[in-house]
């Protein structure tokens, strides 16, 4: 059984800032309440595989989930999640540039769920939208602040160094990490910063 729906939102941040937020896997653990653990299993310049433990409604403990992210056309992102209870979620994340500092994020959800979930289809859609909304609200301050930093001439691992008119930092994958990043183990392709 498939469940399809789309969630659209707009944020006052550039496409690069939004992409940084998507590919910055480490913040999942520190910022989002719905994630109890986040570990990068693999990442390179176009993809990433992660293991997380996520909070699911009516389940008293965090459950294991695997997330595969792929860069697709126009630097958009395809996410395939294997969730508990046999659910496979495919999310196409389209970042539509409205202006230099305004982006529309279109999430096209396509859920493959076991037949016994069929009666719960409306509830599932409700909870996924709620889940998406919570994550969106938790991410909002990061995107706005990151945009502010970039506008002031911010450079990763260096701080505010440039002028407001300097070229803006562009996201390159995989994004840089410290050598001992707590979720960096086993990722030989990660760019480690001394």
């Amino acid at each position: 059984m498939e469940i399809k729906f789309t969630i659209e939102r707009t944020v006052d941040a550039s496409k690069d800032v939004c992409l940084w937020n998507t590919w910055d896997h480490e913040h999942l653990f520190y910022v989002h309440q719905q994630f109890n653990s986040a570990k990068i299993i693999h990442e390179n310049a176009t993809s990433a595989v992660m293991e997380t433990y996520i909070k699911i409604p009516f389940v008293p403990k965090y459950m294991r989930s695997i997330h595969c992210l792929f860069e697709i056309a126009d630097r958009n992102v395809l996410v395939i999640d294997t969730m508990p209870f046999g659910i496979i979620a495919q999310v196409e994340m389209i970042y539509e540039v409205i202006s230099e500092k305004k982006t529309k994020l279109i999430n096209n959800y396509n859920l493959d769920v076991p037949f016994f979930f069929y009666p719960a289809k409306p509830i599932m859609k409700y909870f996924i939208q709620k889940w998406n909304n919570i994550n969106w609200m938790e991410d909002m301050p990061l995107k706005l602040r990151r945009q502010k930093a970039v506008d002031l001439g911010f450079r990763d691992f260096r701080g505010i160094v440039g002028s407001e008119n300097a070229p803006k930092q562009i996201v390159r994958l995989p994004i840089p990490r410290s050598k001992d990043s707590i979720i960096n183990h086993g990722c030989s392709d990660s760019i480690a910063i001394d």
Binding site: W20, D24, E26, H27, Y30, V31, P141, L142, R145, R146, K148, A149, V150, L152, G153, F154, D156, F157, R158, G159, I160, S163, E164, S178, K179, D180, S181, I182, I193, D194
Partner: protein
């Protein structure tokens, strides 16, 4: 070019520090008091730009859990050669003069 931002010393909360955006220095500053001395640093975490907060034993960023030493301003919980951008402070009566000079 050396720029100077002035701020009243009474604005600094000695327990929480004080954060404000300086148009003159083109940065957001965190000013705090530790061991009889005032310090001013950029409140943007040098890692990815997260908001820094003053705690009793360190400066912290909640985005990725980075911590910085209150005096040396070096990152103290990651193996990375990274420190906060700091500013010079001169106290004149009840005013802090914060500058980007050495």
């Amino acid at each position: 070019m050396i720029e100077i931002e002035k701020i009243e010393i009474t604005k600094i909360d000695k327990n929480k520090g004080y954060i404000f955006e300086s148009k003159i220095l083109k940065d957001e500053l965190l000013i705090y008091f530790k061991d009889d001395k005032y310090y001013a640093v950029s409140s943007f975490c040098p890692h990815f730009g997260g908001p820094l907060e003053f705690a009793k034993k360190e400066i912290r960023c909640y985005w990725h859990g980075w911590k910085f030493d209150l005096k040396s301003h070096k990152c103290k919980n990651r193996q990375v050669n990274c420190k906060l951008k700091d500013y010079k402070i001169v106290i004149k009566k009840s005013i802090l003069e914060i500058s980007n000079g050495n």
